[in-house]
């Protein structure tokens, strides 16, 4: 809405969603853009789905939005749920090999969804599917799944490499900066230019 881009980051509590959102926001700020973000903490977080929203543009008023232009999902089920934030457009960057199985599925009451690619295609959503765990492991730590995905998302977001670097340096603690820089680069490289398209 009004030249503002909305990126929603989704996953399960403890996956580093708030950190990824902070890097994204700092990077947008480094581009000289106005940025607002919002998240919900507290009781909603205990083992629950987490949603963090970052909005940037020339002037951003509201910190929240029902629809996103890009969804970054740290987990497959949350990515499937995140499709509803996109509607009939946009891009979903999803860690498709990461599955955190909810209790209702373990108890056999629900099925874990396996229709992400089909539904994304039906709705005209561009799906960037990554084995983010493998890339994070290659970078040096499984905990960097969030930054791998951010690296992949960087291919569809209009920030310079320098702005992303400034975002990473501003947010990531110094002693784990290097491994996160590697994770970011691996995520970025994993997205081929043809996947991104015009």
């Amino acid at each position: 809405m009004n030249g503002v881009t909305t990126v929603s980051l989704v996953g399960v509590g403890g996956q580093g969603i708030l950190l990824a959102a902070a890097i994204l926001a700092e990077s947008a700020s480094a581009e000289g853009l106005d940025v607002k973000a919002s998240e919900v903490k507290g009781m909603a977080q205990r083992g629950g789905s987490v949603l963090s929203t970052v909005r940037f543009g020339e002037a951003v008023w509201s910190p929240v939005a029902r629809r996103a232009d890009v969804v970054v999902a740290m987990e497959l089920l949350e990515g499937r749920r995140g499709l509803d934030l996109l509607g009939l457009r946009g891009t979903l960057v999803c860690a498709v090999t990461t599955r955190i199985v909810p209790g209702s599925v373990l108890r056999g009451e629900d099925d874990y969804p396996d229709d992400l690619a089909e539904v994304a295609a039906e709705r005209g959503v561009r799906l960037i599917a990554l084995d983010a765990e493998a890339l994070a492991r290659r970078a040096g730590t499984l905990r960097a799944v969030n930054v791998v995905l951010l690296g992949a998302a960087s291919m569809v977001l209009p920030f310079s490499r320098e702005s992303w670097q400034r975002g990473l340096s501003a947010v990531v603690p110094a002693k784990i900066l290097e491994v996160n820089e590697r994770a970011f680069a691996l995520g970025r490289d994993a997205v081929s230019s043809e996947e991104v398209g015009p």
């Binding site: 926001a25 919900v40 507290g42 009781m43 939005a65 029902r66």
Partner: protein, 600 residues
């Protein structure tokens, strides 16, 4: 130029307060207010402390203000209910150095037991209120709030909501304000609220309200913003940002200082446009005041009176009113029935993730024992409130902080027997569980009080409390021993390792059998602070008959798999499932057979 910072509203409030010369910060943790004090504790030159509850925080803040130090006190919306007693009379005494009270409201109840609009407290106490709409405004407004507090000799309410407190935005830092010291001066007629002095102060409060309204008229925080459309919107706080995004062409009366309301600017908005709407979350707080001026207004008949709103809700709600020709109205204007928020959207068929007690949480051990007793469990507020949800269904009530013990006492007194137990966390016990325990002892109430002592205020993110001695700057002070405290009152008390399920179970059984009142402290540090796997748990498929006893404890690590149970990798190895299994089907890896010997 200094670097633009990217602050949450809570961080902005803390930094803005210190920039404005605040030297003292206190409060009690509560979502969404908690990070204000945590941030303040990390800024040099400010003393920050968690108080035992919001009432004590309010009183501590008043003391610091009288001593001449600008002070900020923080709490969530329901916390101000706890602090309402000192708060209401503080309006009469006024302050010395500036005193800002932050109330962080939670529309939509993301993490709260109710949804209340604390703007009403500003009106109730006749004090000024500020409602910033983003992080920069939150940062900047503290200077004006402290200055106003001192100029008008009044506490000031700074009202935030979840989306301001936990939203983030760019903040350009400002030059710190240098203050002249303010000495404390004895003034008995101002600070001693006996009736003859209070009557005089009360008149001054009413006069002050008039002067504050004049200030609100001239305040640059209340801005009439020109638009090109023939309609105007009155809004404050984060609701302003939603309205601004939904209707970029509208006229706006943006209220940064929303109490007392500027009548003059409201009337001037009506002179510019033919239709006016008030966009506000929760109560028709501004709307009713506009109606009081005899002006027609679109408000709660369009904007839901419950839950959170956003730009889409605002647009869809107002669009039909603002593009349509205004109806000709007869006076008097009857306020229309308020609209409610849309019911939750139909689930798209995907599995949900409701909040649950963490794997390895020892609250589960308490609940597994407690439900074997024929007692009505009165609950309280904290992580352990999640025990009320399926499959545990372990609590019958959750009213407010500290309610469990008084409710238990009343229930048991009324029935004349030990029919109810109280379940209360350590931080909540200190917050407001001690006085009802003393009362229960004095009134000779029967009952069992279970203090779930996980050595922290877990739900809000592991803050310290008097039982741990941990302070917000991570230093340690003296700690209060719950067992000695109970024994000092004269109440029987035992402390049991909550991780030792058989011992806990035996202690609860023994205490229930005794007459009178007793406390059991179920002690085990929060599993999120331990993060050490106690052992690998394996399932003997031959012994398991899928009876479901272990599944009834609601552990996210256990799941049925075909004819047996599977233990997933979120298991912490706490071993509660081994203890509750009647067939010895679960055991620690390498200790096979141990479970079988225990099976009776």
């Amino acid at each position: 130029m200094e670097r633009t910072l990217f602050y949450s509203g809570n961080e902005a409030i803390a930094h803005g307060a210190v920039r404005a010369g605040a030297g003292f910060a206190c409060g009690y943790p509560g979502t969404p207010s908690t990070e204000i004090l945590e941030t303040a504790a990390g800024i040099p030159g400010v003393h920050a402390e968690w108080c035992i509850n919001e009432k004590v925080a309010m009183e501590t803040a008043v003391g610091a203000s009288l001593a001449g130090v600008r002070t900020i006190v923080t709490m969530k919306h329901v916390g101000l209910n706890v602090a309402a007693d000192p708060f209401m009379t503080l309006s009469l005494t006024g302050v010395n150095a500036g005193l800002v009270i932050v109330s962080a409201d939670d529309p939509g109840m993301h993490s709260s037991q109710n949804e209340q609009d604390n703007r009403n407290y500003a009106k109730f106490a006749r004090i000024p209120m500020f409602e910033p709409s983003d992080s920069q405004e939150a940062y900047d407004v503290l200077a004006e709030a402290f200055a106003l507090s001192e100029e008008f000799d009044t506490p000031v309410l700074l009202r935030s909501t979840t989306r301001l407190s936990h939203g983030r935005g760019c903040v350009i830092p400002r030059v710190p304000i240098v203050l002249e010291p303010r000495d404390y001066e004895r003034d008995i007629s101002k600070y001693v609220m006996v009736p003859q002095y209070a009557r005089v102060r009360n008149r001054l409060v009413l006069e002050r309200l008039q002067r504050l309204r004049a200030r609100s008229e001239s305040s640059p925080l209340n801005v009439l913003e020109a638009g090109t459309a023939d309609f105007g919107i009155i809004a404050s706080g984060v609701a302003y940002t939603y309205a601004r995004e939904a209707f970029p062409k509208a006229w706006f009366l943006k209220l940064g200082m929303s109490h007392p309301l500027t009548y003059g600017k409201v009337v001037r908005l009506y002179q510019q446009v033919s239709r006016v709407a008030v966009v506000e979350e929760l109560d028709p707080f501004l709307e009713e005041q506009v109606r009081g001026l005899g002006l027609p207004v679109i408000g709660k008949q369009a904007i839901p009176a419950d839950g959170e709103i956003d730009q889409d809700i605002v647009f869809r709600a107002l669009e039909p009113f603002l593009t349509r020709k205004p109806a000709r109205r007869r006076r008097p204007l009857m306020p229309p029935a308020p609209r409610l928020s849309a019911p939750p959207e139909a689930d798209p068929g995907l599995p949900v993730r409701p909040p649950v007690l963490c794997p390895g949480c020892t609250h589960r051990s308490v609940y597994a024992s407690l439900r074997r007793q024929k007692l009505t469990p009165m609950g309280d507020i904290g992580c352990y409130t999640l025990g009320a949800l399926p499959p545990l269904l372990a609590l019958d009530s959750c009213l407010c902080m500290g309610a469990s013990i008084g409710m238990m006492a009343g229930f048991n007194k009324a029935l004349g027997r030990k029919a109810a137990a109280a379940v209360i966390g350590d931080s909540t016990f200190f917050h407001s569980g001690i006085t009802p325990l003393i009362d229960a002892h004095y009134n000779e109430a029967e009952g069992l009080v279970l203090v779930l002592d996980n050595r922290t205020t877990a739900m809000t993110g592991h803050q310290g409390h008097p039982g741990t001695g941990l302070r917000p700057d991570h230093s340690r002070g003296p700690a209060v021993d719950i067992q000695k405290l109970c024994e000092g009152i004269g109440v029987r008390c035992a402390t049991v390792d909550a991780g030792d399920h058989p011992a806990l179970d035996a202690a609860i059984k023994a205490e229930v059998a005794k007459p009178g009142l007793g406390v059991i402290v179920a002690l085990a540090p929060c599993v999120l602070m331990v993060r050490e796997k106690a052992g690998e748990i394996v399932v003997d498929d031959e012994r398991c008959n899928l009876c479901g006893v272990c599944l009834d404890i609601g552990c996210p690590a256990l799941a049925p798999a075909g004819e047996t149970i599977t233990v997933t990798d979120v298991c912490t190895g706490c071993g509660l499932c081994i203890d509750v299994c009647r067939r010895g089907a679960l055991s620690y890896a390498g200790a096979s057979g141990a479970g079988a010997e225990d099976a009776g």
